[in-house]
């Protein structure tokens, strides 16, 4: 543990970009947890006399067509956007890594079936498949989560399949087998925990993509509905005002989205350095 903290400090100080990403990550978490109670305005309260005001001291990011404060809405939206992405990634992580581990450990027909499933998902352009899934299951926030989880499943399955496969006949596994452990027990307690570090890198890199994907779905009108504050739908609502010069409606939520994705991508790179110094880019 002490070694790990030392290494963590080394990675953070060695690469300032990772440090910045870490700080932005903390900021996002704070916004998600206590955001709704610290914002200056009620994100839902419309005020006709204040509609479409440019950014000012009172309204940092301006107001939208109903006079709602854009800054407050962006901060409040953090929780929804992050929870969609986190739940989607968690689901695909759990199911993907279990399927992948089984395929990598047992091989044979299990491997073939899992391989066939992942290949079939990957045969679709992923965003298009997500659209189809949401359309089929029904237009709701949960179904956005499921759709995002399904299209990300192959990545986890593939990583954990490879990681389990290379360790399947490692010496420590053979030793544990000789000590009388059953196959499933070997997989669950000896091999699986060792595959977690590379999977964690995958999680972090995947988070950004999951956020983008969910926001893209709500941008085209799936899942989250107005007047809910969510980044994708805020950009969509503001899109019509761009051509008449009211840029703050769409640009600020877009920037928030970009910042969140950026944070997770940089964090993923940093995490990779932390876990596997050899794969540094």
């Amino acid at each position: 543990m002490k070694e790990f903290i030392k290494h963590l400090r080394y990675v953070l100080t060695e690469n300032p970009v990772t440090l910045i990403a870490g700080a932005m990550f903390v900021l996002l978490i704070i916004a998600a947890v206590i955001g709704p109670s610290i914002v200056p305005y009620d994100p839902m309260a419309s005020n006709a006399s204040q509609s479409l005001k440019a950014p000012s001291w009172d309204h940092w990011f301006g107001t939208d067509q109903l006079g709602r404060d854009v800054f407050s809405r962006i901060v409040v939206a953090t929780r929804l956007d992050l929870s969609i992405a986190v739940s989607a990634v968690a689901i695909s992580f759990i199911f993907g890594s279990i399927l992948g581990s089984l395929a990598g450990f047992f091989g044979g027909w299990v491997d073939r079936i899992v391989g066939r499933i992942t290949d079939t998902i990957m045969a679709f352009p992923l965003f298009v498949l997500a659209m189809g899934i949401v359309a089929a299951l029904g237009n709701s926030v949960e179904n956005i989560v499921y759709a995002t989880a399904i299209i990300n499943l192959p990545f986890y399955a593939r990583v954990s399949r490879t990681e389990v496969n290379v360790r399947r006949s490692a010496d420590f596994v053979l030793a544990a087998r000789l000590a009388g452990n059953s196959s499933l027990r070997l997989l669950a307690t000896h091999i699986y925990p060792n595959t977690l570090p590379p999977l964690m890198v995958q999680v972090s890199l995947n988070m950004g993509w999951a956020i983008l994907n969910a926001a893209g779905l709500s941008f085209i009108g799936l899942g989250v509905r107005p007047p809910t504050a969510e980044w994708g739908i805020m950009v969509a609502e503001g899109a019509g005002y761009i051509v008449s010069g009211e840029w703050w409606l769409a640009i600020f939520p877009g920037l928030a989205l970009m910042l969140a994705v950026f944070t997770f991508n940089l964090l993923g790179d940093g995490l990779r350095d932390l876990i596997d110094p050899r794969r540094r880019t």
Partner: protein, 342 residues
């Protein structure tokens, strides 16, 4: 000997695409049957009467067993029957065929832009590691994958249309004052050129530049990253050192020796790039009111026009498989190692 080997491999690739297509058909079938409630009600659309729902139920064969239903679904597909779009009243196949050229024209121009920027950038970054070009490449790569494609699009509209006033309004393929060129290929730019109408060509191209760049920025990141990585790897290999030591010209070493070998992993990345591109196409089409199959799908989604969405998903997936197949075949043709073993 060598030629027949390549032909055999290409044939093998064609065979390998079949399971993918079967998988796609099964998935779209499952998606149709996963509908909550009665699929017949969905297919009939929001304005359906009790009688028309009953008709659709029998015509879809929803009273039959799953296997029979799948057989009917597959044989309808084989005849090219994708159902009727309730929002436009036309058959889904016709709608898709009518709108496909708009999407393809945009996608090809975006691909051209993306390859045209990513390859030189990646090569320049690889030949001068840690220089400013390399740093610039790194920024482009990280920013490219983090930018939501609809945000980039809107930002460009604001900058080039509203502030600078040099781009046309983001409203479709052609400004309203122009007539669309006689349809030959369906690509407005090419049709206008074939017609000898340079004014329309310019107008169509200027409408297309912003959406194509938007789409291209998103997809050039993985390409540039891969080009840089592949070039770095090849440049550090022994045969490059030998070539340099033999006194070959720098450009010969770089392009004839290194780049041709780096091309293989780059081609493989193109598959992923296409997946990105076809997906983000939908978003870009919405931002720029582009009348392609993406906006067709969005309109259909909003009014729960189910057959249209399914047709769109299926068409995109088949298109994606075909693109990947093309990449595989090009790969086989380019790969100098194929056929050497024998």
């Amino acid at each position: 000997m060598k030629r027949s080997d390549k032909l055999r491999i290409i044939f093998g690739r064609l065979i390998q695409a079949i399971p993918s297509i079967i998988g796609i058909i099964i998935v779209t079938f499952i998606l149709t049957r996963a509908l909550p409630g009665d699929p017949a009600v969905y297919f009939a659309g929001p304005a359906a009467t009790e009688k028309s729902i009953q008709e659709i139920r029998t015509s879809l064969g929803l009273d039959k067993s799953m296997l029979e239903q799948f057989w009917i679904y597959a044989s309808n597909l084989a005849r090219g029957d994708l159902g009727v779009s309730v929002s436009t009243g036309l058959s889904v196949k016709e709608e898709l065929i009518r709108r496909l050229p708009a999407s393809l024209e945009l996608t090809f121009l975006a691909l051209l832009f993306s390859i045209g920027v990513a390859l030189p950038l990646g090569i320049a970054a690889a030949t001068r590691p840690n220089s400013w070009v390399d740093q610039f490449c790194r920024i482009v790569v990280t920013a490219g994958v983090s930018l939501p494609v609809f945000f980039t699009g809107l930002f460009m509209v604001y900058l080039f249309y509203y502030i600078l006033g040099i781009a046309p309004a983001p409203l479709g393929r052609l400004d309203i004052i122009y007539l669309s060129p006689p349809s030959i290929t369906g690509f407005y730019t090419i049709d206008a050129l074939l017609d000898g109408d340079f004014e329309t060509f310019g107008a169509a191209l200027s409408q297309m530049i912003l959406p194509a760049i938007t789409l291209g920025i998103f997809t050039l990141a993985p390409l540039a990253r891969m080009t840089r990585g592949a070039m770095l790897q090849v440049l550090s290999s022994d045969f490059i050192r030998t070539a340099r030591a033999s006194g070959l010209k720098r450009s010969t070493v770089l392009y004839t020796y290194a780049f041709r070998n780096a091309l293989l992993p780059i081609l493989t990345t193109l598959g992923m790039v296409f997946s990105f591109m076809l997906g983000s196409n939908v978003l870009v089409e919405k931002v720029f009111a582009w009348p392609g199959i993406g906006s067709f799908a969005i309109e259909a989604l909003i009014v729960s026009d189910y057959a249209a969405v399914q047709g769109f998903v299926l068409a995109m997936a088949i298109l994606y498989v075909l693109l990947n197949l093309t990449i595989d075949i090009v790969y086989t043709l380019v790969d100098p190692r194929v056929g050497l073993e024998s």
